[in-house]
């Protein structure tokens, strides 16, 4: 019974992710003409609601920090990419 409940919860999460992924891939072609995600808005909505502006990092450091925060703050990949693009513009040169 215990395993059944764990399996049901995990399956639900996976089914949800699979459904969303499927939907997103079907909309792939349409997305190329759709309005791009605003990285600055993503940054303001997700990052600064918990902490103040981080120190200026290099682009390669920024990529890793955004990836870390993608997990910690549950940010979808395309939004994390948009935030990274935005932060890369202000990143230090390596």
């Amino acid at each position: 019974m215990r395993w059944l409940s764990v399996a049901v919860i995990l399956s639900f999460c996976l089914a949800l992710a699979a459904w969303a992924n499927d939907k997103s891939s079907k909309q792939g072609a349409a997305a190329s003409t759709a309005r791009p995600i605003d990285g600055e808005q993503v940054y303001k909505s997700n990052c600064t609601r918990c902490h103040n502006t981080p120190p200026t990092l290099t682009e390669r450091q920024t990529r890793v920090v955004v990836r870390h925060m993608r997990v910690r703050a549950n940010i979808p990949a395309d939004q994390a990419d948009a935030a990274m693009q935005y932060l890369s513009e202000t990143a230090r040169r390596d």
Binding site: L14, G28, V42, V64, V65, R72
Partner: protein, 351 residues
């Protein structure tokens, strides 16, 4: 055994499905847009980040000082994997009833996890991770992030790290709403620096990026010797147009008690304020804890009676990475009403 097999089979089927769909989506996006994407072209470097803090609290008959060092190690491995770990070393120096108590040094691994980015909306986490119960542990616990150096009264009742696996991610429902989830299972481990309980649970939340509002629901069931449920709700609101943050959490459990806290933090960032004030933030927090009639199990750190606490604090960023804090609180509990003063300084670093 059959159920276990069935569970693993379902997992593998879905993972295969998601990976295939993700590859197709990546290829399609690359063909259509020719844009860069963190998953396709990832060039990262290992990083050490984290925080250092020194906090002190002053209560009647007891003064306490807590130096804390909490480095975070981030190591990217290829396009789809990140290894991340946080180690916390904390000392407790207590002067109580006119004598120093033995100084303690606590070393703990907050998390040491491998993140596999299986798709846009799914990350598989394996190893030791911060248990996603309510929001404080994952988002606000870092010393350089928390608005008040004293953690909420209910925080120790939901605070834990787990050793096991976790599925998590976020799915946009529309342009103005996002659903996030984290479901986990943890095995019992008795290692002194990386202990964990046998437990499972989930946290789901709705996030409205435009309004910057997030409301979450958490469920946790302990499956070891003590078997009981804990429920949690959390709410955060970054008020647009005002530099005001509202955060709150509630915990409900027949075994460890019920409680809540609500916190408001106002940053004096407008140009109408003098320049020195623009680096300041005023914080207030109200919280209550209701003790269960049968007492709390010894593993949990909780007030022994119903307790109400009010805090007012002031934060000042000396630089973007160094913050000083001072706060005054008043605790109301049966025959134990008293004042609490806290001061602290924290430093955030990235190398």
């Amino acid at each position: 055994m059959k159920l276990r097999f069935l569970g693993v089979l379902i997992l593998l089927l879905f993972l295969g499905r998601i990976s295939t769909a993700q590859s197709a989506a990546d290829a399609s996006a690359a063909q259509n847009q020719g844009t860069s994407d963190s998953t396709r072209h990832f060039e990262g470097v290992p990083i050490i980040t984290g925080g250092i803090a020194l906090n002190a609290s002053f209560e009647p008959h007891e003064n306490n000082m807590n130096p804390v060092v909490a480095p975070i190690f981030l190591v990217p491995l290829g396009r789809r994997v990140l290894i991340e770990s946080e180690v916390e070393v904390e000392s407790d120096i207590t002067y109580s009833h006119r004598e120093y108590l033995p100084v303690t040094l606590t070393k703990s691994v907050e998390y040491a996890q491998l993140d596999f980015f299986a798709g846009k909306y799914l990350t598989i986490v394996a190893g030791r991770y911060a248990t996603p119960f309510n929001i404080y542990k994952e988002r606000f616990d870092a010393r350089w992030i928390r608005n008040l150096s004293a953690a909420p009264l209910i925080f120790p009742l939901g605070d834990s790290s787990s050793n096991g696996g976790q599925l998590r991610g976020a799915i946009p429902l529309s342009s103005s709403a996002q659903f996030s989830y984290a479901a986990y299972f943890s095995a019992q481990t008795t290692n002194v620096s990386a202990s964990s309980a046998r437990q499972s649970g989930l946290r789901t939340a709705l996030f409205f990026p435009g309004a910057r509002v997030e409301a979450g629901f958490s469920f946790n069931r302990l499956l070891g010797e003590n078997r009981f449920n804990r429920f949690g709700t959390d709410f955060t609101w970054n008020v647009r147009g005002l530099p005001l943050d509202i955060r709150s959490e509630a915990l409900f459990s027949k075994v460890v008690g019920n409680g809540y806290w609500i916190e408001g933090a106002y940053r004096f960032s407008g140009s109408r304020y003098p320049r020195w004030l623009r680096r300041s933030q005023a914080v207030v927090r109200g919280e209550q804890y209701f003790h269960p009639s049968e007492g709390v199990p010894a593993d949990f750190e909780a007030p022994e009676v119903d307790t109400t606490r009010l805090f007012g604090g002031w934060n000042y960023w000396i630089t973007d990475s160094v913050r000083a804090q001072v706060a005054y609180g008043r605790q109301f509990a049966t025959e134990n009403n008293h004042n609490i003063w806290t001061v602290g300084i924290s430093y955030r670093f990235v190398k």
